[in-house]
Each structure stands twice: as structure tokens, then as C-alpha cells.
Amino acid sequence: MAGKTLFDKIWDAHVVETIKDGPQVVYIDRHLIHEVTSPQAFAGMEKRGASLFRPKQTIATADHNVPTKNQHLPIQDPLSKTQVDKLIENCANHGVELYGLGHPNQGIVHVIGPELGITQPGLTMVCGDSHTSTHGAFGSIAFGIGTSEVEQVFSTQCILQIKPKTMRINVEGELAKGVGAKDIILFIISQISTSGGTGYFVEFAGSAIRNLSMEGRMTVCNMSIEMGARGGMIAPDELTFAYVKGRDFAPPAGGDDWGRKLASWKKLYTDEDAVFDKERNFSAADIGPMITYGTNPSMGVGIDQALPSANGDQSFAKALDYMQFKGGKPILGKEIDFVFIGSCTNSRIEDLREVAFIVKGHQKADNITAWIVPGSKRVEEQAKQEGIDKILEEAGFELREPGCSACLAMNEDKIPAGKYCVSTSNRNFEGRQGPGSRTLLASPATAAVAAITGKITDVRQFLN
């Protein structure tokens, strides 16, 4: 019998039942919820007369819609306040642990899951948010779902799903200086397209992936959805186990439970003779600092390259027109207006450290507004302990309070129409960061350098 993929091992262990010619009933170990995609699911469940089946396996936070300034004051926007209040009420009524505003564990749902040890190898995890794929960095099956599916999990701790196909993406070799996890994933998406992963669950493998920190692995898995994939995952290893060990939700280190868990986690890898439905190979040597120039995440190029031309493609031409870019021209040297460092892709302590390392002793350019929004209260606290807040302040950056912020601009943090923002987030869709805003996705290092020079700059030259 052929071996199994990491994905198959975990998925198959969670199948409660297979419907003939239909989807499977898949058991969900952990359910993360937030204020935007849960209220209709709570209401639907109540209307049906059902109750929350496993409240202890559900964790809530407020992140998408919260202000990133003065979080200790009542929320100003009445609609946002209603939504956050509804989450508080729903969690209280149904016995769900909530890390809301003011709680020391509050933060972006995909930052706090790993940080608190809720995310562990071998688990199935869902959340009403497409970037749930982030948690796959720990060797778990994690994917985003819609609100009707949130209600399925509320009512039964299960979800009906058709099993996705499997794809492995191997990245071998060493990354150049100034090139990181964000560049790897932007490069892969630029090669595979925004729909090339649709229908698949992706395992990222190869030496360049294994050599990433846990934070870097989360960045890679986070953006799996941007190539259409249901999720991304990376086989857990000693680095993963060390990261989970001692965290709030992890079994106490040294105890029997920890030993048992560790033994089972060590079996979570793809067997050598396992076969994937699709396999792609990339070389780390081909990857330089990446930046996007269009209105979907696959429209990315190496920062020192010229922009491609539309060649009669209507959708491509519309994207370039929206961005006010011309095919064939370089992107280096393009003046920008905003820098946003944050989001579930790049707002962890390692990202803040990297930005601080680059901006230390420099000043942001006069034409730049630079926001840095930590992923969680814990990240914010850690940054303060390390003096990162002072470095950023001296460089003219504004360090805000945790939330999704200008990644999707649901709150007040919007990029004005027509302005260019180099952003460490995950989506450059039209108007994503505010109506008419123009987003260029890049790594924290590239964003930090752009803030200092005021224009698109090659981080490799800056570091030399």
C-alpha cells in the first residue's frame, strides 16, 4: 500500500462519516471565531433551537473591526460597537472564552491561536476567515469557512466537506540576504497564479521551508489562500514542538500528556512513497525581494524587474489602470505615500524586530505615513519590553494597538483614494485598504526600507 501524505493522515483521522457520492462529516478540534463572521451563525443556531455543542473547543477574539487607537475608550463607530457588543453577548450566553478588547490575550485571531498554544500539530481547525490557513504552519489542517459552516461547527463540532486534492510545493536551497518568508510565498503565488491552488490542500516542503522560523512558516501558510488553495501546511519538527511547549493551551511540559502528544506529533510527516495529486518545485536562488503591482496577489515581480504588459488581457489592463502603472516600466524608485506593517501575515514579534533592525538610527521620509500594528497585546508588550517601541517612535513610525486594521480597512485605518501603500498584509484587491487605495504587497523588510527612502527600494542595496 502506498504511503500517506501528512494531509491524508490528519484528515482521515477526523472523518466521522462519508456520505455516498457526497461530502464527508469532518470533526473539528478547535474553532476560532471573531466579531464579523459569527453573529449570523449564533442567530441561526438560536433560531433553530440548537445549542453550542462543544463550547470549550471554541475561542473568540475581537480583531477585524476594532480601533487601533484608544482601545480603552468605547468604540466610536456605532455599527462596529454593535458588532463587538454582540460578540460579547453571544460568548457570555453560550459559554465561549472571549479575548476581547482590554484582555491581555486579545489580538488577530491567527496571531493569538499559535501564541497561546491553541494551535497544535495534528489538529483540525477552522475559522470564519480565509487566512485560517496560517495555523497549518504547525502541521495542522486549518482552513477558512463561511458563516453557514461556522453554524455547522457551533451545532455539531463538525463540518461537511468534500476532501480536497493534495499538492506539494518544494522550495530547495538558501535564501539570499534580505529575502524572507514573505518573498517566498509572493514568488510562489506569482508563478502558480491566484487560482492555481484551487481545489487543493498544499504541503510546503524543502530545505528553504524547513529553515524558516515558526513565524516565517506562518507567513507562508497564511497566504496559501491567495493562490486559491484550501489551506497550506508544513510538517512539524523540533522547532514546532519547542514553539508549542510551555504555552497556555499546550499540555504542561514534562507531564504524561505532553509526552503522549509529542510521540503522536512525531508521526506527522508525509511518507516517502506517498503520492500527491500535483507537485511543484522551486529554487530559493531564484527568489529575490518581491513586490506586487496589480490588484490580485499573483501580480507580483522581483523588485528589480520591469512590470509585465497587459498584451490584450482586459482584466490585467484594468488592474494596471487602477494602479496607474505602465507595463514595461521598472517599479524601483516609485514614490509611495503610506507604509502599513501589520495583519495576520506579518505582525508577529519577529516581523517587528526585523523592522526595528532596519529603521534603527534612520528617519522615515517626509512623504510617508508609517503605521505599525502589532498582531496581539502580547506582541505589543514584548515589543515594549525589547525597546522596539522607542526605536519605531524615533524613526517616526506610529505604533498602534492590535487588530486587523488597514489590511481590510473595516475600522478607521484607511488608505485614502489614489494613495500608494506598501503593505505587509496579504491582499492588494481594488479598494482593499480603503476605497480607491492602491496596495503594494511586500515583506516587512521591504516595507521598512520604503518608509525610510519614501519610494520602492531594493532592501539588498539598502543593507549593503
Binding site: 462529516v25 442567530a43 473591526n65 469557512i145 458563516t147 455547522q152 487560482s195 482584466s315 481590510l408 473595516m410
Partner: protein
Amino acid sequence: MEAFKKILSKTAPLPLENVDTDQVIPARFLKATTREGFGENLFRDWRFNTDGSVKEDFVLNNVTEATILLAGKNFGCGSSREHAAWAIHDFGFKVVVSSFFADIFKNNALNNGVLPVQVSSEFLQQLFDAVEQNPEQKIAVDLEDQLISIEETSKSESFEINAYKKHCLLNGLDDIDFLISKKKEIEEFENKAIA
């Protein structure tokens, strides 16, 4: 959920690729706590200028009585927001036709009685051409027979749908009731997993 009936309708053609759910319903309109009323802001920033005036050349401002949305490849990519499916449904669409759909959107649509019909890129082009030549052109969608056809020319193509999902749509059944009926099996699974 409403049972899905045969459809014969005019279409709203949107021949763009990679239409993401941020365009279908921008994030700033996701603040409601109910499922209703999202149709008002469907394709908000393509339908209206920033001052609120109507963009005359956008298709949804020129088509009436269409219950079929024709869209380019990879429709519904990006955010998992079910609000996109709610907005499409609330606006009056019952079918979205494309040559490729993003996974999460497809599930969300099906869970709200909106049928995603995936056709070949050649047939999609035929549909766009037929509607361009005659904007009143009607398209028929028959879920029972899994067939989509152009009324005038009778050109047709069959489409795939999971047998279980088809049964649910035709009978107006939803996944949640089905799962609730499986609670005993789920509890047995939990006991076995812990043991």
C-alpha cells in the same frame, strides 16, 4: 433554504477574471449582524462613484430582471465572507456562471441556494457573445438535468455538481439539519478519539 427551481432568465454579464469577494461586497459593509440587506451594496465600488452617484456604464446599473450572473474565470476568490453570497442572493441572483470558482465561495453559494454553474471557457465565451449580441437573450439552467442552454440557439452544455449537494438544492435541505441528525455518530467518534 428555498428549493431550487428551473431558471430561464436574462443575464448580467461581467466578463472580468479573478473577481474577488472584496469587490462583491467591500469590507466596510460587513458590519451588520443579520443576513439581510447586503444586496444594496453588491459590487458597491463598481456600481457607484465615491460621491454616491451611479456609474452609468457598469452592467448592474443597466440590466433589470436578470437572475443569472455571468462572470469571468476564478469568480469569488479571496476572503471567505459569506456576505458575498448573501449580497448576490439578496440582489436577486439565483445562479452564477463562470469557467472556474474559488472553493470557499462555491460552498457559501451552495449553502444559500445560489447555484454556481461551472462551464468550459469556450462555452462561457459563447454565453458572453450571445448576450453581447442580444442583451435580452435568455439562458436556461436546469439543475435536475445538469444542463445550461442558450434559448435562441439551443446551444447547451452539461455541468457537474456533487450528487448530495444537488439533492439538497432541489429539496431545499441544508447541511446543518443533516449534521444535527448525526449527533450520535459524532459523540461516538469523540469517545473513540479520546480512548
